[in-house]
Amino acid sequence: MVTVNGAPSDCAGSSIAKLVADGGYQPQRVAVELNEQIVPKTQYESTVVKDGDKVEIVGFVGGG
């Protein structure tokens, strides 16, 4: 199991790019932490999550 934004998910083997797309996020409006480390945008395709990983996808909205 992988934990995505606090919820269990059986997405082990998926790339960060896929998790971002499946979550309905726009890649240019997110920051992704994998096990408390930022994932650079250039590594979204190549970074694959595995069992036990904790992923936090932060999607930003406008206003300030």
């Binding site: 240019q28 932490e33 650079p40 936090e56 999607g59 930003f60 909205v61 406008g62 206003g63 300030g64």
Partner: protein, 212 residues
């Protein structure tokens, strides 16, 4: 009316906040990125709290559409926000070390311009710009504490606005979803609640309390 001396103001802050916490606030340095509804309000709180150094960054000028929620005055229309806000903050906290830079932050200049600030406040308005700054800071300035905000538009309950700890160095304020792009307005009190969350989290970090 003469203003109080630095020592008098510091003593008054110590009386309100406690000497231990005040020493930590006074030793603090915060870079405020974006001086709109979030940044101008957060900076006012940080100056009032007696934070030692504030660095103000924005490229824009004060516009009439800012006056509903941002800490500017009608007689400051057309001024750079960096200059207008510095003026106001110097009246609030004359002994705070205030510096500013009138520049548009981007992925290229952020590592250089924000280097050395232990705490960074993300206070942009556009979602893609928020994400850009957050990614850039977390990637290139991992030792900095970053406090960001997302979701404060509209007239929904102010109680929906919270501070979340994403990692030990990254905190996110807001309701996470109310987007100005959905036609929601930006109302001073609700934006101000979010700005206060940012400022308060920053003060907690300066005081050495690392989790929300």
């Amino acid at each position: 009316m003469t203003i109080p001396t630095k020592e008098e103001m510091y003593a008054a802050l110590c009386e309100r906040h406690g000497a231990d916490i005040q020493a930590k606030f006074a030793a603090g340095a915060v870079a405020v990125c974006g001086l709109g509804g979030l940044g101008s309000n957060a900076a006012v709180h940080l100056a009032r709290a007696g934070v030692g150094r504030l660095h103000l960054i924005d490229f824009d000028r004060v516009d009439i559409s800012n006056l509903n929620r941002q800490q500017y005055f009608p007689d400051q229309l057309g001024q750079y926000k960096t200059e207008a806000l510095a003026e106001t903050l110097r009246r609030i906290a004359p002994y705070c070390e205030i510096t500013s830079e009138t520049v548009k932050l981007d992925a290229k200049n952020i590592p250089k311009l924000l280097k050395g600030y232990p705490v960074i406040c993300e206070a942009f308005d556009r979602a893609d710009q928020k994400a850009m700054l957050v990614n850039c800071v977390l990637e290139h300035l991992p030792e900095a504490y970053l406090v960001s905000a997302s979701g404060m538009a509209g007239i929904g309950s102010a109680n929906e606005i919270q501070t979340r700890r994403i990692t030990s160095h990254f905190y996110l304020c807001g309701d996470g979803r109310s987007d100005v792009a959905d036609g929601l307005g930006l109302i001073s009190a609700r934006v101000g609640v979010c700005a206060s969350h940012e400022a308060h989290m920053i003060l907690r970090l300066l005081a050495g309390l690392e989790s929300s």
